[in-house]
Subunit: 145 residues, 2 copies
DNA sequence: ATCAAAATATTGACAAAGTCCAGAATATCT
DNA sequence: AGATATTCTGGACTTTGTCAATATTTTGAT
């Protein structure tokens, strides 16, 4: 319930506000959600909340690592509350579906590129692009002779 | 020279125009360039070219796989002419530098996630995030006691 | 409970990166 | 030369997000 979310905020040194709770709940319950969709959910929950408060909350939560951003090409930034496991994503080129994928080799193996060139790497962001089963079926329909 | 670029266009079924040549040259000679920078270079080369023509050319070239888009967080879309080798990128969180990195394990090994979930995967996009050597040095300066 | 300081939220303007439009003009290919 | 493809103009418009000044809320110490 709210106790859980409040604690998460407090543990990270953040004031607990209705706005942040609504945003954190929206992201927790809807993985890979856009800021716009968060706004809709939060407005439904609170009656009113400013767009700026949404962005403030999302940015603060991301800064404090309570949530994570992903930014697929051609889509606005998306947010998820599943953090700390360096998991990857699988995105359909046709319909935009996003799936979570566990790290391919084990615990964050992808942090090791073939040559780090002196960089101090803290994250490997991996997106697999393809066509989801539904969109494949759809395409097959179309190709029927 | 121009012969090379023209052939690349023709081979992909595209009309050869001064605008497309200028755009393709800009991208080929400046890996990870932004649309805005392409506009500057093309204007310098041709005297005049519309912003719309830049985007038309970039989108057409990307559609035909003559160039590739990458879209790092917090930066506008970037374009590069190095295609077909599924190479990765290393980006500095501080200054935004972008480096090419060869595929980690061999020939596009990353196309295999731990579980493809029925997706038909055609690309694995990998971005390593970190701090470049210069930005590390800068930070160290600051931390000097 | 009360109160002040610090942190947040609201509001409205603003900005960046693109897209869309639609007819007229031009260039390319065969 | 003729058919087709591309570009130009240039403003309006959209989406995603930030900025800055002001108002409100939260927190922790009385
Ligand atoms: Mn995820
Ligand atoms: Mn590259
Ligand atoms: Zn799909
Ligand atoms: Zn750097």
């Amino acid at each position: 319930m709210n106790k859980d979310l409040s604690d998460r905020l407090r543990r990270h040194g953040l004031h607990v506000t209705a706005q942040r709770l609504a945003v954190l709940r929206a992201v927790s319950e809807h993985p890979h959600i856009t800021a716009d969709a968060v706004l809709d959910l939060a407005q439904a929950e609170l009656g009113a909340i400013s767009r700026q408060a949404i962005y403030d909350a999302l940015n603060t939560l991301a800064d404090k690592n309570l949530i994570r951003r992903i930014q697929p090409m051609g889509s606005p930034t998306r947010y998820e509350a599943r953090v700390g496991d360096n998991h990857h994503h699988l995105i359909c080129r046709i319909c935009g579906r996003v799936e979570d994928v566990d790290c391919a080799v084990g615990a964050a193996p992808c942090l090791m590129p073939s040559d780090a060139m002196g960089y101090e790497i803290d994250e490997a962001e991996v997106i697999y692009w393809g066509r989801c089963p539904a969109c494949q079926a759809q395409a097959d329909m179309h190709n029927q002779t």
